[in-house]
Amino acid sequence: MSTNRDIAILGVGMHPWGKWGKNFVEYGVKAARDALADSGVNWRDIQFVSGAATIRNGYPGQVAGATFAQALGWQGAQVNTSYAACASGSQALAAARSKILSGECEVALVIGADTTPKGFLKPQPGDRPDDPDWVRFRIGITNPTYFALYARRRIEMYGDTLEDFAQVKIKNAQHGLANVNARYRKAFSAADVAASPMVADPLRLMDICATSDGAAAIIVSSVEYAKRIGKAKSPRIAAISTVTPSFASALVEMPDIATDSAVAVPAQSFRAALPKKAYEEAGIGPEDVSVAEVYDLSTALELDWIEDLQLCARGDAARLLREGATKVGGRLPVNPSGGLACFGEAVPAQALAQVCELTWQLRGQAGERQVANAKVGITANQGLFGHGSSVIVKA
């Protein structure tokens, strides 16, 4: 079943992550042109433009899909825009896949770009006790609070240490050193991390990812189309999971002040549900995975994701890290791109950037960060409002 549900990745492109002070459209067009060039497909042949949106970028009135289509030159393609917080890119990819598998189009551009505001993200002003985002800031609960609670839980339950979390940062910084699209390309030592200020115990500044400008674009097509243009060996997308959480939530999710009550229905993990659906869809299991790109909003969260992806037993991720298994050269490299630690988050582009990295890995084009013999890659991603995704790419 899985084979005839696959689509082909013909081309990928990115605009380097950073703080460039430009409009998000510029980043997107650069990424799209790179992806088109990589695919060998002419812009005029693109039949569907699938844009990933954010509520932060651009200005009111700009809609991602159409904005990029116009900037590339209106040519009459079908267009769509997806908004799903941090999973916007995956939903835009899923929209393209649906069009392709239903036969409505053969080749599509999927694109996401962001320009981040300066300074810290704050809730809207005013007195708004009905808004959970306002409430939690009112009583002193910020974004790092949630990541820190999950991190501390690992320390309490599994014996993880601050040194383990620092090692995640050191590993990802090492991976990102040679990645031209990464924003931070600098090696860190354990002493560097230990010297960075504590933000939300046990997480230091260097344990928490920044926000960045950036763009990623992907050209996808039917497998038939790929064969017709001589790209039969392109990597395939075998699964795109964008499931919602299942009631009752097991973890307090940002921006909530409490979990659901599990009195009537058992508590369930959202993060674990995302890859589970992806594995089912692809008809493969965690034992088949050769490389993973996970959403390391914090260093400790990378360890949670490794377990949610079932790449080891619950509580064993730090052991994998200490063995060196999760670094490039180890048996199961995680975040060879450098991850969010090296990129910083560019919301509507980030889930697509994960797929770009897996594409380069599966083609053997990742240079110094190449994972040997990469055959199957998986992404994991989670954002606000019950959105998340997991994409499986296979050679």
Binding site: Y150, I257, A264
Partner: protein, 147 residues
Amino acid sequence: MSAVLNEQAAPVPVLEGWFTLDQQRPHLLGTRCTACGTYYFPKLKGYCRNPDCNGESFEEVPLSRSGKLWSFTNASYQPPEPYVQVDKDAFVPFAIAAVELEKEKMIVLGQVVAGTGVESLRAGLTMELVLEPLADGKLTWKWKPVA
């Protein structure tokens, strides 16, 4: 004279109706679906979110005053507004607790009482609900380790 007046003034909660103002034994106030028994905090009215329940009737209930510490952290820097801003030098870091309520089977966040830092916390500790003022004098709920 003004001190006396202040003492007599009714305490003002940071969020109206989120908790009782009983200084000795405060409770968070939630709702409970009368059909399936699911608790909600903050209060939910209208339609039950349990996918197997069509409940539309809710009763207001006080939540358990104590639970087990699930995890904890702190705020080393002053959070942005609407957290009440004080002079940077006057900001005192505070701990934050996630406490698991056994009867309600839910985890509720809150600040930890002033003077208790993360170094004296560990998962599994019994925590109880107390009231303490924020920097603007408005009362909020906080979690306190039971000695």
